[in-house]
Amino acid sequence: MADHVTEEDLEQYCLGGLTEVRCARLEEHLLLCETCRDRLTETENFVGAMRQASRQISEGPLKGRAAGIVASRTWRQSWPGQLAPMLIAALLLVCAAVWFGRHSSVPAPLPFAVELTAVRGAAPGPAPAGRPLSLELDLTGLSDGQPFAGEVVDASGARVAEFAVSASVRLQALSPGDYFVRIYKSSGELLREYALTVKR
């Protein structure tokens, strides 16, 4: 009990990747250890920021504030050298748009990323209706030793979608309304519930 929690375990706890046994040991330690509670808060902040920043970077230079700043700086510094590749890219984009216009009746909208966090007071803003959703689930504290089931219910409790739980879940577009995303143990015990509002 005297040993503090390792950085790896704190990270895995934030990412929902600890086994049940290690999760129990860590949570029991946190009950008594203020140092590790502070370290968990710091780790959570780091992991959350890293995840968000990685997402912005992965989504490309047109998305994300800082990535946008980087892109504009690069443009100012060396725009003549980059003009040709950009023109080619623009041309390719136009061709792709024309091709899609001919070959698909309805263009597939990009999924909208919604981050659902287990920390109350940090729920996301409304998601747009009519777009698929990419739910980023905060699995902090859930162990990976067992499978979890997930569902989305509407305000009346009627199920509108089911999914296998992972950190990132793709959902079909939802109509406007209030929803709840739930995570269950395989035994049926309700573990988490996140509010989700979809607006037109």
């Binding site: 009990m1 005297a2 503090h4 920043a53 992965s58 990535a67 109350r120 305000a155 209030d178």
Partner: protein, 220 residues
């Protein structure tokens, strides 16, 4: 979370922890004597129990359920624990910590369950449903934004390969073994990439905070 807590990141590996806190800060507890005293109705023992666990329980409940009615919830947990001890439900006193954790987790599950049922009842009575606004407050949003900006600076400043490691681990949640295997890294190299990023995150966070404090001091 205060700004200072969020930005003053004290990134430490286990070996970096000062010796006084690394091994000796959390005392070893023999739970049996304490449990026996609580069982016997000793008020001082109950206070000792409360003093030992209340902060940890509060921390857990606040993370899971938010700050609403926190004092009442902590009180409920203690009531459950002391009643269980006094009625002999806790058969193995040495498992006290595990028992406390179980009670806290049950409390969280019960609260979520109660919310779900309350909402169902409300939904059957009303046409609409009122959701409590869980949007982050402006301070929290600003802190979060700053943290993300720091993380972006780090990711944009490191080698592409290191960035890939971090993206794979933190965003795609690939296991360390898979990342090491696919990218030809040793476990030590993998850890080093992560710990460097963490240390940099801490340094930049601290630097930002001190700049802000200095800036604010000029206008005082």
């Amino acid at each position: 979370m205060s700004e200072a807590t969020a930005l003053t990141l004290n990134v430490q590996s286990m070996s970096d922890l000062p010796e006084s806190t690394a091994m000796h800060e959390v005392p070893q507890h023999a739970w049996s004597p304490l449990v026996e005293r609580v069982r016997a109705g000793d008020r001082a023992a109950m206070e000792e129990l409360y003093g030992l666990f209340s902060k940890g329980i509060r921390f857990y409940l606040c993370r899971q359920l938010g700050p609403q009615d926190l004092d009442d919830r902590v009180h409920d947990v203690f009531l459950t624990i002391t009643q269980a001890i006094q009625s002999g439900e806790l058969r193995e006193p040495e498992r006290l910590m595990g028992y406390v954790r179980t009670v806290v987790r049950r409390q969280v599950a019960a609260r979520i369950d109660a919310n779900v049922h309350a909402r169902r009842r409300q939904a059957s009575l009303d046409d609409g449903i009122v959701l409590r606004d869980h949007s982050p407050d402006p301070e929290r949003l600003a802190i979060r934004g700053e943290s993300i900006e720091v993380a972006l600076r780090i990711l944009n400043s490191i080698a592409k390969r290191d960035r890939e490691v971090l993206v794979r681990f933190y965003l795609n949640e690939q296991p360390a073994e898979q990342i090491c295997r696919e990218m030809g890294l040793t476990e030590t190299q993998f850890r080093l990439i992560k710990s460097r990023a963490k240390a940099r995150f801490g340094e930049l966070g601290k630097a930002r905070l001190s700049r802000k404090v200095g800036f604010a001091a000029r206008f005082r």
